[in-house]
Amino acid sequence: MSADAASTDSPPAGPDKPVSAVEVVGVSKVFNRGKASHVDALVDIDLTIVPGEFVSLIGPSGCGKSTLLRLIANLTEPTGGTITVAGKPARTARLEQDYGMAFQQAGLFEWRTVAKNIELPLELKGWDRAKRRARAREMLELVKLPDFADHLPWQLSGGMQQRIAIARALAAHPPLLLMDEPFGALDEMTREHMQAELLRICAETGTTVIFVTHSIPEAVYLSNRVVVMSPRPGRITQIVDVPLGADRTDDTREDGAFYGKITEVREALRGAEFDLTAKGIEDR
């Protein structure tokens, strides 16, 4: 399937939303420009993501997938090109908290209770206490941990901590969720459970997701589209559509079409990686 094929699986944009949730045009990122350690982390990246879409970025270490996510989050500035988030420049979108973010480390603040962790982005938005409390309770229901509001992070398992991190990222109801290998540190059982939970949460909230991962099955199971990237220089080599339907269950993982897509992504990665030095791609 070619990179510019229309996605049949992504929901249409609503009338009041911008046509694209994220628009990346001609973006490049150079580290240490002009020095011996000069690295073309990303060259000539074009990517448009429509509202409600779930897009995974996959590729070997050094392909710039995390850098691309950080550029969209405006945690770092591009060397060239433009990035638009929710119809605004990426910087404006960050300042207006138009996205939530989750990392491989849950990154909960260990001196705050679970509820207070979820409330933090709302505090910084200036919400009053009652409103924050109510929203934290709502988010704890969403991630199915309603009884843990007053626990401290160390009292929770890794998977529970990651669910709280997702609840925190979505607390302000941002239209966009950026995730950098959020399930990378979890065991396989917890990981599959979290994937199913994430799909449910996204279906309930209509959130657009950009998801960085090393795992081919994870990317295929979750995504409407899988963006395959390759290193030196970091670039997009192929975009694989995954029309497995909106209602994905554990049965989806047994489905022939699911395996077909896994094969397609794997071959795309191999094609991208003719020097055969790829590291860090999990085939599970």
Binding site: A73, L75, R94, L95, E96, Q97, Y99, G100, M101, F103, Q105, G107, F109, E110, W111, R112, L120, P121, E123, L124, L152, W154
Partner: protein, 263 residues
């Protein structure tokens, strides 16, 4: 929680038994070899002198303890304030950090002598200043580290929330530094008592534990000197217990389980 007293007893009994055993051995050695008091005093004699001189020992404990407490308090306050300044102004950090290392390299006793010359010989200021200085550097180094060493994920999250520098200080750096402050206080508390004693060896008023120990021993009243040493042990222990209690109050539940490396 019926097993709690039992658990405490189980934890306390072995070291207590060892202490009793060592004291018994000490007593036996003195008696069996008939050691003279100017060489080594028997624990029972020390205890007798301790009871006889209790009110004097208590007075000396109050004097030294007050000096240590003042130094601990002022040193901690000054250390925390300076740590905030250093974390705010990088240039100050570059100036003060090498200087603090240099000052730390000066033997403390030299400074006491200098302070004694600066103030009246009966003044308590030189001793309190001495303790303040020692505590100041311990607190400064630790709290500055706590304010600086923010988990990178926390830093990125705060940036993604468009948080201001003030928000990051209030909501991340300060709470991050709290355990570091209590670590510093735990180290400083026994240190402050030790420096309060040591600073009494360099002249000035002869009312504290350190002066009493040295004057009694130089007058060959070894048993009384040892009784004051026992008082000094008790005072040091009291300071240590206070610092542990403070930490327990400040970090209920999570003190031991916290993962400060942030995973």
């Amino acid at each position: 929680m019926s097993s709690r007293p039992a658990a405490i007893a189980a934890a306390v009994a072995p070291p207590l038994a060892l202490g009793v055993l060592l004291l018994g051995l000490w007593q036996a050695v003195v008696r069996v070899f008939d050691l003279q008091p100017y060489f080594l005093v028997a624990p029972t004699d020390i205890w007798a002198k301790f009871v006889d001189n209790w009110s004097n020992i208590w007075d000396a404990m109050v004097v030294s303890g007050t000096n240590a407490a003042f130094g601990l308090m002022f040193g901690a306050i000054a250390g925390v304030l300076m740590a905030f300044l250093l974390s705010r102004f990088a240039i100050l950090d570059q100036l003060v950090t090498p200087m603090s290392i240099a000052v730390n390299a000066i033997p403390a006793f030299v400074l006491v002598s200098v302070f004694n010359n600066m103030f009246a010989t009966t003044s308590v200021v030189p001793r309190r200043l001495m303790v303040t200085l020692v505590v100041f550097f311990v607190v400064l180094v630790n709290v500055a580290k706590g304010l600086r060493q923010v988990n990178p994920v926390h830093a990125e999250l705060m940036r993604s929330y468009a948080a201001s520098g003030w928000d990051v200080l209030r909501k991340v750096r300060v709470p991050n530094a709290v355990p570091y402050l209590f670590t510093a206080l735990k180290v400083s508390a026994p240190l402050s008592v030790i420096y309060a004693y040591v600073s009494e060896y360099f002249g000035g008023a002869q009312t504290g534990l350190g002066s009493r120990i040295s004057s009694n021993i130089s007058n060959s009243k070894n048993a009384v000197g040892w009784a004051y040493v026992l008082g000094a042990c008790l005072l040091g222990l009291a300071f240590y217990l206070i610092s542990i209690a403070l930490e327990a109050v400040a970090t209920p539940g999570g003190a031991g389980q916290r993962n400060r490396e942030g995973s």
